[in-house]
Symmetry: C2
């Protein structure tokens, strides 16, 4: 048995590089950028009119002139025109290029237009006002989005603006999710008295979907030869195998011995935590795999997460170990989130306690309110909560107001 | 001009019911549940063994017996067997039904098995231990998930467990996103000196994708007859139209007059906020539409959001108005999120200020650190920030440590 901290360290030392792929930018939300995005031109690319109105040469106004003959219109998207006579003006639209030889925009609200003459109704304007000058936001060549940024709607706008129709992102791992357990039947089946329906594989599929990782699923009966031959094949075909169940002490918990027989290196088995203690973690030796299968990356390994089969155990371990492993693998830096414990908690066992909590935002602070479920089998209790608060194993009493790490799942 | 609060109230008074659809449960993450999910049987559905080990009749142990002949094995997924002799034991696996006439489970760790005899190595056990009793978590018929819950991985597990292979969810609105502006060219085009690439439609598509709303997009030239005929058709075919641009005072800002000519009722135009002030909001009269088009819902209207064309204006208004409108339309209750201002801010204009901020989690509290961009055109500044903090219009000075509403976009 090792501690949660040590287990996480081992998991994070086993990260993988899945490579890079180029995809249409509009499909890239949620993916991790694997190139630097630079400004292809100045931002804005020209002296840009930022108000609808008229443009003049400021000196005329300064010299007392208030009425200006309208020479023409500079629309957004039209080629730059020139103010021919410094005593005249041009109507300009937001987004238009500033006409040549003009330098100050007065908005329509401050102007009266009659018979082709615009009269300014205010006595104070600033030289060069209402112009968003070329390159003010960013210079051509400037770094707009760093490599390893998680792409959101904000980045999509920038990608469009600089013309990145296709964008390089981290490839996703190829994941197989396997449930075991002869007590499990399908979602659309009616279970017998002693059976229950499969749920963990679907929960895991959904937890991976949050990371935009597609996955495949399989259910295998508690039959050692069948399990072994299927796992042998999965080890050759997938980057990651996630198991739910069959890693504890039961007579049909075949996974640890199958992993050993298939030379999957055990990095740890059992962590001092509740729920989720019998977690098995390992990796398949790269040499064996590279003989049988052609990989882009010679050092590619298959990482094996053997989660305990209780619903809450599978759920919390996916969040506490698979998520950080994935984030580090693709190069995303994440920040630890903390919350303030909303009531006293006592927990006697010498284990890290992943306690389910509701979260409330109070005056800018996150308050974690424990909801006590009935242990690791109480799947329905997850519906009432939003996160786990991680209470360390070196304490028995946790006081209201103390701050601890949380892992959100909504 | 109306206030942000008044504008939001009007938007929230114009919500729509898009109806209900039934979809495969595994596709339902992020959607809003439109039925109650009840326990189809007790949770757990039988007295469930919760440790791998042996099961005995407690009285034998109490009477001093420590060694028990193993009668058989009760595996998970096997029909319930019976302990025939109260002096014997049965090996039991986690997830198995408790055998009849047995009542106390001792885990393998506390037992030695030799020649078919299990000997208990500890002197204290509890009557009925390590059994998760039938119905302890939930009784058959109990409400497990309320209507109007946003479905996450937690709910997926429960849906699978109760056999809801298909689930009723709120239908998504049918949305058309339209950009205007002759200065805009496609993402894969090379803009001329006075042109820029389209970006707002893609940003909006991505912001809607966060809500699992698919959308269509169109770009229409600044040509009034073309704009009008296309919008007339869209009003008949979509639940929501989102526009970016052409709602201000420019000569080619045709939208307000087209809306008027097409009898789209203007509910407001211009809000006392920065950025995003020239926001136009309205709805198409239901009568006119129902004559031309068959709707499931007779009262169905088309809601029109006319966002100003500057990138930050479109972005913030989608978050500040479309999002709450959508949440209320589908019946999702959301809670306001607040953060602590990380430094002093002064803002003179009598407008609500949506200020871009980075967010940091410090000791369980959310600190908002302002990043000053170069105004509503500075799209690239969104990459550096995570949220808008909403500073009310009735103040000029906002002090470090004060708490305000935030709107996250990552």
């Amino acid at each position: 048995m090792i501690s949660v901290e040590k287990a996480l360290q081992i998991v994070l030392n086993s990260t993988q590089d899945f490579g890079i792929e180029e995809i249409p930018f509009i499909k890239s939300v949620g993916r991790i950028l694997k190139e630097e995005i630079l400004a292809d031109r100045d931002f804005p690319p020209f002296d840009r009119v930022s108000m609808d109105g008229i443009v003049i040469e400021y000196t005329s106004f300064k010299n007392g002139q208030r009425s200006f003959k309208i020479e023409g219109i500079q629309a957004a998207g039209s080629k730059q025109i020139t103010l021919l006579d410094a005593q005249n003006c041009i109507e300009v639209m937001t987004g238009a290029v500033l006409p040549k030889k003009a330098n100050t925009v007065i908005r329509y609200e401050d102007v009266t237009i009659k018979n082709g003459i615009a009269t300014i109704n205010i006595n104070s304007i600033n030289d060069g006002q209402n112009i968003h000058t070329k390159g003010k936001d960013e210079k051509s060549g400037a770094l707009l989005i760093s490599k390893n940024t998680k792409i959101s709607a904000a980045e999509i706008g920038v990608l469009a603006t600089v013309g990145k129709a296709f964008v390089k992102v981290a490839k996703q791992p190829k994941v197989m999710i396997v449930s075991t357990g002869d007590e499990l039947v399908g979602v659309d089946e009616i279970p017998l008295e002693h059976q229950i329906r499969r749920s963990n594989v679907f929960t895991l599929v959904s937890l991976l979907e949050r990371l935009n990782i597609p996955s495949e699923t399989a259910h295998i009966a508690d039959d050692k030869p069948i399990l072994k031959s299927k796992i042998e094949r999965y080890l050759q075909e997938y980057d990651v195998l996630l198991f739910s169940g069959a890693v504890s002490k039961g007579k049909y918990d075949f996974l640890p011995e199958i992993f050993e027989e298939l030379e999957v290196e055990k990095l740890f088995h059992k962590v001092t935590q509740r729920p989720g203690k019998p977690f098995w973690f390992g990796r398949a030796a790269s040499l064996r795999l590279s003989e049988q299968h052609v990989y882009q990356n010679e050092n590619k390994q298959t990482i094996v997460f053997g989660f305990p089969g209780n619903p809450i155990s599978t759920f919390v371990n996916c969040l506490a170990y698979f998520y950080p492993w994935y984030y580090k693998s693709i190069g995303l830096e994440t920040e630890e989130e903390t919350a303030i414990l909303g009531e006293d908690v006592n927990f006697r066992p010498n284990l890290t306690y992943f306690l389910q909590v509701k979260l409330e935002n109070k005056k800018g602070c996150i308050v974690a309110l424990p909801i006590s479920g009935n242990g690791s089998g109480d799947l329905a209790s997850l519906v009432k909560t939003a996160a786990f608060i991680q209470l360390p194993e070196d304490k028995l009493a946790f006081k209201k107001g103390e701050v601890f790490k949380i892992i959100r799942y909504r």
